[in-house]
Amino acid sequence: MRLLPTRHLVLLIVLSALCVGIQLTPRPPNVEFTSLVVFLVGAIFGISFGATLGILVMFINGFFSPWGFAGLMLPFQVTGMVIVGVGGGLYRRTRVGLYDSASCIEAAVLGAFLTLIYDIITNFGVAVSYMLIGMPISLAFVNAVISGALFSVIHVVSNTFVFGLTFFPLTNVLQKLIGGEKTWKKEPLLT
């Protein structure tokens, strides 16, 4: 088992607390920063930390969200956020070089893609609830996707901007905080 340096551990705990705090704060529906923080933790600390934070945040959110108890949606939300954390970890492995405007676009596209995946999974959760009351699976899924379309679009568009505009500046600050290294060195990051 790899041991984290104290500074890294503290940063991880602070980010996790921040993530949970932001997630439980009342806000417009589907405008959120949880995905960004989970992706960021995955990108800096690795897949396992990203995925764990995703599970933790969505589990707590499932019970204490201002929108009420998640119920059947809880496992789907957890799965979606785990994928976001894993995505951050995978991105960490592929990214080389200093960040520039193209990197921001990359982050924006990744944010949009992972948000879309998250929404498809959670919509599937809604479809399952429809199936439980007797609706055929294909109809239930189409129904869930279509009825949630506007919320998905809000979610995807807002996360596109959030990821594109804030991921690399935040990464840069955090990298300096934990090691003083330049963000995105030529070789994959090591923590």
Partner: protein
């Protein structure tokens, strides 16, 4: 194109395609929903329109019946009123009454309606404020004051009737309560001096 760039362009396009499809599906569903609502509303409007037309017809028919009934009732009532008027006319009469106060003041009460059998006394009683004295069955009633102008030792109230055939005023020699009125009679009550007898007729 670099493979990495291609990957992100492809990812972006995938996001766009899926989002676009979902939004198109959403708008199609909304379109169908609103179309159904529109059709339902149009159908309800047609039904309502038919109901309004039926109601209008029914109301029109009812109004026509009411109008006919009302006209019938009104005609009946009008006939009854006419009959009543004729009856009233048959049991009443109209006379002209002159009050002459002896000081140039004269008041006419033309077409005064009175019951059949009225006398000159009941005629003046009906049109003004008087005082009188009843001298019994044989002599009758004497008017002693009209509107506060009372009889005294030199002047008193006398009554006259107009003789249309001879075109002159006649001074009856009996009390006003004894003079039975006829339709179209003209009578006069005049405040006159006893100094000259017979006194001059009212003019």
């Amino acid at each position: 194109m670099e493979k990495r760039t291609f990957t992100y362009v492809a990812l972006g396009l995938l996001v766009w395609a899926i989002s676009g499809t979902v939004v198109a599906g959403y708008y199609f569903a909304q379109y169908k929903t609103y179309q159904n609502e529109y059709e339902n509303l149009a159908s309800e409007l047609n039904t309502l329109s038919g109901a309004v037309v039926d109601l209008s017809d029914t109301l029109s028919g009812t109004m026509e019946n009411v109008s006919e009934n009302f006209t019938g009732e009104f005609n009946t009532l009008s006939g009854s009123m006419k009959d009543l008027s004729e009856i009233m006319e048959s049991i009443s009469l109209k006379v002209n009454i002159l009050l002459s106060y002896g000081n140039g003041t004269k008041t006419w009460h033309n077409n005064t309606a009175l019951p059949l059998g009225s006398t000159a006394f009941t005629a003046i009683l009906a049109v003004t404020d008087i005082e009188y004295k009843d001298y019994g069955e044989d002599l009758g009633i004497l008017v002693t004051s009209v509107n506060g102008r009372g009889n005294n030792s030199t002047h008193g109230w006398l009554y006259w009737y107009w003789d249309a055939q001879n075109a002159k005023w006649v001074l009856p020699e009996y009390a006003a309560s004894k003079y039975i009125l006829h339709r179209g009679d003209t009578i006069a009550f005049a405040y006159e001096s006893y100094a000259m007898w017979p006194p001059p007729p009212p003019t």
